[in-house]
């Protein structure tokens, strides 16, 4: 077996010395996934909330479909986005394939169902709780969506974090639409896949621990932010 210790210390060295290549990879991972989550929030939250309060035929089927899409295989999403963005595809003229934008699109497709489905669940519970109040105020179901979203904002942060977790950990889609091009579209997960294929298992594992570290840091930061918001909210009340 190879020397795991030396490869681990090599990875540690790269982090501690602020290796510019590694940092660029980490920053690109964050850029792509954070932007994908934000776009997913803009699309998924209103859709999820509307599904929670609106009543129409086929609603149940739509909810089942949305829940199922949470488990959409990233490779399939990658293929679909590739076929759209390829020079032979309908959106080929945009020249987006093998760019970070293509990766953001793929991750947005992956994350939006998660955000929408979790939002639907949160808002549905909240809408039930508030139903009499809202009715007495004469607010229509759809008009109550913004109010409910605002009121549920802290719970919705969890939905966004779930989406972020999916995005930052995903490799199947970004490697197809990004191409894992050095200095252009190489992110943490595709680097790990590359090092594994080179047989540098310990280095790959060490990079994996950085990825976990990033996930923990992002979650901690968001949690600190929500906690502070919560406290301020209590003070104002």
């Amino acid at each position: 077996m190879q020397d795991f210790a030396s490869q681990f210390s090599q990875a540690g060295h790269l982090i501690l010395t602020g290796d510019p290549d590694l940092w660029a990879i980490v920053m690109l991972s964050l850029q792509v996934s954070v932007l994908a989550v934000l776009i997913s929030a803009v699309i998924g939250m209103p859709v999820g909330a509307a599904l929670a309060v609106a009543r129409f035929p086929g609603r149940r089927a739509l909810i089942i479909l949305m829940n199922a899409l949470m488990g959409f295989p990233p490779v399939v999403v990658g293929l679909l986005v590739y076929l759209m963005l390829s020079r032979s595809g309908p959106l080929g003229v945009l020249e987006l394939l093998y760019t970070p934008t293509a990766m953001i699109i793929a991750q947005t497709v992956l994350v939006t169902p998660i955000v929408a489905a979790l939002t639907r669940q949160v808002i549905e519970m909240l809408a039930e709780e508030y139903s009499e109040q809202l009715r007495s105020l004469g607010v229509s179901r759809l008009a109550s969506v913004p109010v409910l979203l605002w009121d549920a904002r802290l719970a919705l942060v969890t939905a966004l974090l779930a989406g972020f977790g999916r995005a930052i950990a995903e490799v199947g889609a970004v490697i197809i639409v990004g191409g894992n091009i050095n200095h252009v579209t190489r992110v943490m997960t595709t680097t790990i896949a590359l090092e594994t294929s080179k047989g540098n298992l310990a280095l790959a594992l060490a990079l994996g621990t950085i990825l976990i570290g990033i996930a923990v840091a992002v979650n901690a930061a968001v949690s600190a932010l929500t906690l502070r918001t919560e406290q301020e909210g209590l003070r104002h009340a």
Binding site: Q31, S197, N200
Partner: protein, 272 residues
Amino acid sequence: MFRAAIKSAMILCGLLAGPAAAEEPFIVVQSTTSTQNSGLLDFILPGFEAESGIDVRVVAVGTGQAIRNAINGDGDVLLVHAKPAEEQFVADGWGVERRDVMYNDFVLVGPKSDPAKIKGGDDAVAALAAIAQAKAPFASRADDSGTHKAEKALWSLSGTDPTLSSGEWYRETGSGMGATLNLAAGMDAYALTDRATWLSFGNKGNLEVLVEGDPRLFNQYGVILVNPEKHPRVRAAAGRRFIDWLTGHDGQEAIAAYKLNGEQLFFPNAQQ
């Protein structure tokens, strides 16, 4: 709350500004994992990039996938190793002209215990027949890559159809060279690999080279410009410049200069 919001907005703007970095001229090269994983491209490309100001973006996949991506127009230059498939690509009009770039060879690797007793031989076809006879585990790429095409050609010469034993001793990984070698190392299986990937591979485990030197293990790399008449967005001028460099004096010298642990991995053989 308000201050926190501003702070997050500022961080966000920083994130947004990132991907929109200044655009320099670039080409996309569809290539194989062996050229990238061996470190060759990382070694030679900076020379071209410095001289031409053209950024070379490499997408490293199996030869079969690289060719299909190029047929879709998702690349400007194709650098792969499966001569019949490359010639077909040009004959079908997808590529402009095929040029030889370099060669190395395939080797048959396997566990030190060598249950099929093939060690030291230089007849790859006889070795495969012995592996099939012994029903010893063999890990195949099975991904239509250049290495897989070469492996299939050797099997057909041996008169054995290993896919009949798929799932038994013949293990089709459907993955890249590295993943297949990882699997072979894990289950003490034989495998066919290009020498460059083998020499730079870090998880050899119990594996070693058992059969080499058969002329049928020759591994030729070629370069092709994707046909701009088929895909008008192909960056033809920059792509041509790269091909001329790669097959010209400087590129060929750079390829020959690349060594790993003192061993040369690729041998330039472009027609001057």
